[in-house]
């Protein structure tokens, strides 16, 4: 799959909003879960 440069990659054939909206929110939420888990781990291990 050959993208003709960054702008084409970001545009996703006109569907950029949908594709990046999907990937963006999904990975943001997964990242949020990881961050919350890390914080919870730190709190717990600080208490014991």
């Amino acid at each position: 799959m050959n993208w003709g440069g960054w702008s084409e990659f970001l545009a996703m054939g006109g569907y950029g909003f949908y594709v990046w909206g999907s990937y963006g929110v999904s990975f943001a939420l997964l990242g949020l879960e990881v961050i919350l888990l890390m914080k919870r781990t730190q709190q717990r291990e600080a208490k014991t």
Partner: protein
């Protein structure tokens, strides 16, 4: 038998704690690597779809997330059943640990489904059989989490949640079948989300890699969370 004794030794939360940590670390790493591979295949190897253009690339998140949402509910219900049957504390903790991750994947499946539906079907939300069943699954997850949150005593919370999860898992096929029947009656012909792009082998490979990545991620997240639960309770 020494093998049986070894298994039961891990059923104690204290013994399981370090093992969970090791497995979790390995799985975090594995998930990251597989995700990198899956995304590479999804964006740089798989070709453009003839009908849907680039919009179809959402499939690499949507389908694996949907698979995980259903698989995790089954795993959660299994741990719940084991906990009720064998009266082991750790099983109940595992079920509670899996729930938030499962709910998250359900939400991701719904969100990406909506954003995929807009350019392809013309609407953000359509009462497609699978999306509607997925929505009900989200309610089942949230109900489980709400019930556990409302009960102060951990033992009662585990057992009540377990019963709910088992009742839920028995109902999931019934709910899916009824929604599918309802959908065909009221919607008529509708494009199936996985049938629309003809499955080139590269597309399938990308989906499988992402599915494996999500699976390892779920294991890592659940084990990390159960370690927190163990610390909180013991």
């Amino acid at each position: 038998m020494s093998a049986t004794i070894k298994w039961y030794w891990f059923a104690s939360p204290q013994s399981f704690f370090p093992l969970a940590g090791t497995i979790a670390r390995v799985c975090w790493l594995g998930a990251a690597l597989l995700a990198a591979g899956g995304l590479y295949v999804g964006f740089f190897v798989a070709p453009t779809d003839a009908q849907q253009g680039e919009a179809y690339r959402i499939i690499f998140i949507h389908v694996p997330a949907a698979w995980m949402s259903m698989f995790l509910y089954l795993v959660m219900a299994s741990w719940a059943a084991i906990g009720l049957a064998l009266n082991t504390r750790l099983s109940g903790m595992m079920a509670s640990a899996i729930a938030p991750t499962g709910a998250l994947f359900t939400f991701i499946a719904l969100w990406t489904g909506a954003l995929w539906g807009r350019p392809t079907w013309g609407a953000y939300w359509v009462w497609d059989a699978r999306l509607t069943s997925e929505l009900v699954l989200l309610f089942l997850y949230l109900g489980f989490m709400a019930l556990q949150a409302a009960i102060d005593d951990p033992r009662r919370a585990d057992r009540a949640g377990a019963l709910l999860a088992i009742v839920g898992v028995v109902n999931v096929p019934i709910i899916y079948y009824s929604v599918q029947w309802w959908n065909t009656l009221h919607q008529g012909a509708s494009v199936s989300l996985t049938r629309a792009p003809s499955m080139a082998s590269t597309m399938l490979a990308g989906m499988l890699l992402m599915a494996l990545a999500f699976w390892l991620y779920s294991i890592a997240a659940a084990l990390t969370r159960v370690r927190c639960i163990i610390l909180e309770r013991e």
